[in-house]
């Protein structure tokens, strides 16, 4: 038996080694489609025309445009479903035609009536023509399903299912109440929620009144440049080109997004040529990659803001001078240079750079003397506050805890002692939402690329979002925010937001720390990877 065991061990080891020797170790550039002739993946083409992206996609729960609201889902659905209007590339200031060739907003007395004329010759992947009925079905479907992103239609745009009408095969008329912003609605339509599905096909897939959501969970029915080939849960999603796409044919025939949660593995795979894009690298890894053969690194703007919320219901944070003192004492440059290794911008207003209405004014930088004077003006010598901090890594790549410790030392200089309490984000949010935090370190990203998506939550107490969580009830500024959302003239609107953001900068309960930068590792031959700060890239314009 002893000898038998030894033999078995040897045979087992030999089998493994032979298996190892049989072929190169997962090197797509050396093992193109040849070994995959019988596989569905093979139809995506060889490695030369498939972009392999290593990314943590544990947030992926659906590929249905009416459901997706997670980073991975949005990235994929954006490339599968066309929208009526769109932003092109990284520009978030100019709305361009999508499925609609033109659109027009009319003041119809009690409503805004928005008319969209569809382009001709647009087809879904099934071959069906894109019609106004498909648009109506898609938007009504999103409202009916009422999943995570639906509030953009129902709350922000105050859209009702019956207000979406097809007046002929290529014309859609949407009526919004006068309290909603047509400008904000157009930006919402660029998002995946505005993705148009093939109503004829989806209706055949409906089961039990689910509007086809079981089918669209992991299949696609759109008119975008790509279709969903397969989604192997916890492993990968493969997109293939849409044979009926009306636009320019994409250079890459396949986009493979692999679930690789560990950033070290992503880095290794990128360097070995097993991945073309590494999505979740740390600033240290990006630095390590620089100068290495075959790889390049790139950064892109994001629309996130990392900030500290100061609960104005909790003394001494109810004193505007104390809040100003806390803002004044922080060493913002130190955080960006030392902790983020430069992967962030010094933004102190509540609207990030890249959106209309962004306020570049950044008057605060570690002025201890001025901060002490403000504390004195507030008659506060010393204060002790709880500081809630998420676990893990903050946008921009520094540990949340490192940022918290840095702030703790900055504030100690003006007599404010903070007790750092680290919690998983879900626990922290439960406390924060209930107005129970004192100081809370967290980040915010707009739901749609419009200043209203930040100004509303940060100023309107009644919206029960960020202003509410920090107990800041300033009715006057909230009204100014609501008014600004409805201004149609861009110049006048920008001027209104300047007034609002200047006011919040010195009076609001926020210490806006920075706007993080996104980091990507790429193979050197990957071109056209232009990441939009809303959270996607147009795969159709990527080459390798």
């Amino acid at each position: 038996m002893f000898r038998h065991l030894c033999y078995t061990s040897i045979v087992f080891a030999v089998v493994l080694l032979v298996a190892a020797a049989c072929g190169p170790a997962a090197n797509p550039s050396a093992s193109p489609g040849a070994s995959a002739s019988a596989s569905p993946s093979a139809s995506a083409g060889t490695a030369a025309t498939t972009l392999v992206i290593d990314q943590d996609v544990s947030d992926l729960i659906s590929l249905d445009p009416a459901v997706v609201y997670e980073f991975s889902g949005v990235l994929l659905a954006h490339n599968v479903y066309d929208t009526l209007v769109r932003f092109e590339g990284t520009d978030l200031s100019t709305i361009k035609p999508g499925l609609a060739q033109s659109w027009d907003t009319k003041d119809a007395g009690t409503t805004w009536d928005m008319t969209f004329k569809l382009k001709t010759g647009q087809k879904f992947a099934s071959g069906n023509a894109v019609t106004a009925d498909d648009v109506v079905y898609s938007f009504q479907r999103a409202i009916k399903l009422n999943k995570s992103p639906a509030f953009l239609f129902t709350d922000i745009a105050q859209l009702k299912a019956e207000s979406i009408k097809a007046t002929d095969a290529s014309t859609v008329v949407i009526s919004l109440p006068k309290t909603a912003s047509p400008a904000a609605f157009l930006t919402i339509l660029t998002f995946t929620l505005g993705g148009v599905v093939d109503s004829k096909e989806v209706k055949t897939k409906e089961t039990g009144g689910d509007s086809g959501s079981a089918y669209l969970l992991d299949h696609s029915s759109g008119s975008g440049p790509y279709v969903v080939d397969h989604w192997t849960k916890n492993a990968e999603v493969l997109l293939k080109t849409n044979p009926n796409y009306a636009g320019t044919k994409p250079a890459l025939s396949g986009i493979l997004v692999k679930h690789v949660p560990e950033s070290t593995n992503q880095q290794f795979a990128l360097e070995k040529g097993d991945a073309d894009v590494a999505r979740n690298l740390t600033p240290q890894q990006i630095t390590a990659l620089q100068g290495k053969a075959g790889v390049s690194t790139t950064t892109a703007a994001s629309l996130l803001l990392v900030y500290v919320g100061m609960n104005a219901l909790k003394p001494p944070l109810n004193n505007v001078n104390v809040r100003e003192a806390l803002r004044t004492a922080v060493d913002y440059d130190g955080i960006i240079k030392d902790l983020l290794k430069g992967n962030g911008k010094k933004i102190q207003g509540i609207v990030p750079q890249g959106l209309a209405g962004a306020n570049e004014s950044a008057p605060f930088q570690a002025n201890v003397a001025q901060a002490q004077a403000l504390m004195k003006a507030a008659n506060v010598d010393k204060a002790t506050l709880d500081f809630l901090v998420p676990t893990g890594t903050a946008p921009g790549g520094a540990a949340w805890s490192d940022i918290a410790v840095k702030l703790q030392s900055d504030w100690a200089k003006i007599g404010v002692t903070v007790n750092i309490k680290q919690q998983p984000t879900a626990d922290l949010l439960t406390t924060y939402r209930a107005q129970q935090g004192q100081l809370v370190l967290i980040n915010w990203g707009p739901d749609y690329p419009d200043p209203d998506a930040n100004v509303g939550p940060f100023t309107d107490y009644k919206a029960k979002s960020i202003a509410y969580r920090n107990g800041w009830d300033d009715a006057s500024i909230a009204q100014k925010g609501r008014d600004a959302a409805l201004i149609t003239d861009p110049t006048a609107r920008a001027a209104a937001y300047k007034v609002i953001t200047d006011y919040v900068l010195h009076n609001g309960p926020y210490v806006v720390l920075y706007q993080p930068t996104e980091l990507f590792g790429l193979r050197s031959n990957v071109k056209g990877f232009n990441w939009s700060s809303i959270g996607w890239v147009d795969f159709a314009s990527v080459t390798k």
Partner: protein, 337 residues
Amino acid sequence: MRFVGFLLRRVVGIAAVMIGVSVITFAISHVVPADPAVAALGDHATDAQIAAFRAEYRLDRPLPEQYATYVVGLLHGDLGRSIRTRRSVADDLADSFPATLELSLAALAISLLIGIPAGIWSAIYRGRLPDVIVRVAALAGGSLPVFWLGLIVIGLFYYQLGWFPGGGRLDTFVSPPPTRTGLYVVDSVLALDVDALRSSLIHLVLPSLTLGYFSTAVVARMTRSSMLEVLGQDYMRTARAKGLAERLIVVRHGLRNALIPTVTVIGLTFGSLLSGAVLTETIFSWPGLGRYATASAISLDFPAVLGVTLLAAIVYPVANLAVDIAYYWLDPRIQRG
């Protein structure tokens, strides 16, 4: 007959364990202060959305009612719906468990095929070079953290040498074989798919060595010490006095007696393999239960956490049952009761 009675007692025991585990896990998972609806919907959700979500998942009902609903579903084979993935937990488990089982079985095979011969070798050559080698290797195996070991192994064998792939279950452009068992090695053999077999075997090497190193070390040390004890017994001297061949003495008289404590350890380490799989799966991008459990726990996905716990609660007693059956075969005294 006695064996059937023994089996029945164990099955009843497993059922009792399951009930206990479900009650305790359910209670613990519902006393954490955070709200799973907030975890699922995030920072931007409105109060109305959160309320609707809580109603959809019956999180707004009293705890005993939630538990009763869960148990009734369980008796109908329904493990509930995952809060994170919004899919049936049973479907999620069916997707992820085979990957973990395949990895754990490969790691177990490695620990038996390497650990037992190494332990015997070490005992026979006690105090000499082979013994020193085995003991040092076993000491390292018992003390290296899986996470660190995994990164080192990937760094060396994938990144530096390029001998093995760095993660996943198959090469990028190889498709999985048609699902019969969910174990890619078995399924690719059944489908006569050579590419998938080669690819799945090669992908198993690094994660199963990483995961199996600790249990290999434990098995080797236990086999060594019990072999040493057995080798000094009177019946071994008798066997030698009878003039039996040394190989026969070691295997038939020595190993069979020495295996009993080793088998106990194997049962216990199978449990540790499943828990070790959590880290190993993360490092090797292995789409298994460990990664599913971690992601579920982080997002306070109670139905998924309960599903994983119940599955583990079945696997542990079943592994122990296998150990007991092995005792039965190894030691006639146990059969006599």
